[in-house]
């Protein structure tokens, strides 16, 4: 059951892949064809089920362009 999810504001992404590298659950992959207007290959959030909403990808994004949400049990 998914515990979190992320949103990448693609406009500001520079395709550095740090998010890809640091997600402990391998939820992010780099695409091979999705390019933003600045010409950068974009990462894709591929594994919603695994995401724990740990926030790490957000911290490590140099462009601060990932929002991370965690689902709360109420």
């Amino acid at each position: 059951m998914p515990r979190g999810r992320i949103e990448i504001i693609e406009e500001y992404c520079k395709g550095c892949q740090l998010c890809v590298k640091f997600c402990p659950k391998d939820c992010i992959e780099i695409s091979t064809d999705k390019i933003n207007p600045n010409g950068y290959l974009l990462p894709i959030f591929v594994s919603e089920d695994e995401c724990t909403g740990c926030g790490i990808c957000g911290w490590m994004c140099p462009e601060c362009t990932i929002d991370v949400y965690r689902y709360i049990e109420n």
Partner: protein, 256 residues
């Protein structure tokens, strides 16, 4: 996808202080991550309204003032500590922060920095060590590793011609006016958290009037190193940290 907003908490995102700007940095430049560190620490300490930042000449020059929502000035190359001195002396309640590269602080600005330490100023300095002059195209910096190739050490830095890499926080720690000196990185999530703690401590020293705080960030410059962003991470672990050990070199509650 669960979507009821009541169930969802935003854990992280662009910090409030982080301005929307088409980033000033190259892909994979750690300065962007450090910007987050700075924003979060200032927010957590609640000092954004009192903060005055001084950006050195270098990639920090454009980056910091354009991305962090506090008062800023850019400075002539290497001179931030002198400018900060005057600002802090005139507004002792301000939180005055310099952000300087290794060329800026370690070469042209070494005298300016050291003299601020001699005078025992009560300031905070973020020292960005990417081992090269990033802005001007990857020339040797005082922190360039031995053997490292740059555009002005085409055969690699050698001791004979260019001496030894400069260790800034260790040097600063020997000065009596310094309250805090540490080295950190943001090249892993764990180090990111430690870096936040270091910077917070350094700024707190200023707020408490204890003395100068300096935090070095060892950080990647992909084009300067001729490496891809992910390769830089290994270069940091394997090469940079060997020369530049992480840790606190000074942390005192009272200078003597």
């Amino acid at each position: 996808m669960k979507d009821k907003s009541s169930d969802v908490k935003k854990v992280t995102g662009r910090p409030d202080l982080r301005l929307l700007s088409l980033g000033m940095y190259c892909p994979g430049c750690h300065y962007g991550i450090i910007t987050r560190v700075i924003c979060e620490v200032i927010e957590e300490l609640g000092v954004a309204g009192k903060a005055i930042g001084l950006a050195g000449v270098g990639c920090s020059f454009g980056g910091a003032p354009m991305t962090i929502d506090i008062d800023w000035t850019s400075c002539p190359h290497g001179r931030a500590p002198a400018m900060a001195t005057a600002i802090k002396r005139i507004y002792p309640d301000a939180m005055v922060l310099t952000v300087q590269g290794d060329g800026d602080l370690g070469a042209i600005g070494l005298g300016c920095f050291m003299n601020a330490l001699v005078r025992g100023e009560n300031l905070t300095t973020i020292f960005l060590n990417n081992a090269v002059y990033g802005t001007t195209g990857g020339q040797m910096a005082p922190t360039t590793l031995l053997g490292m190739k740059t555009t002005t050490t085409p055969l690699g830095r050698d001791i004979q011609t260019n001496g030894y890499p400069l260790h800034v926080p260790e040097l600063a720690a020997t000065m009596r006016g310094v309250a805090y000196a540490a080295r950190c990185t943001v090249h892993t999530p764990a180090n990111f958290q430690k870096a936040k703690k270091s910077l917070k401590t350094a700024i707190q020293k200023q707020i408490d009037g204890i003395g100068y705080g300096i935090v070095e960030f060892v950080s990647a410059c992909p084009p300067g190193w001729g490496l891809k962003p992910l390769e830089c991470l290994d270069y940091i672990s394997e090469r940079m940290l060997e020369e530049y050990p992480l840790g606190e070199f000074k942390n005192v509650d009272k200078t003597d």
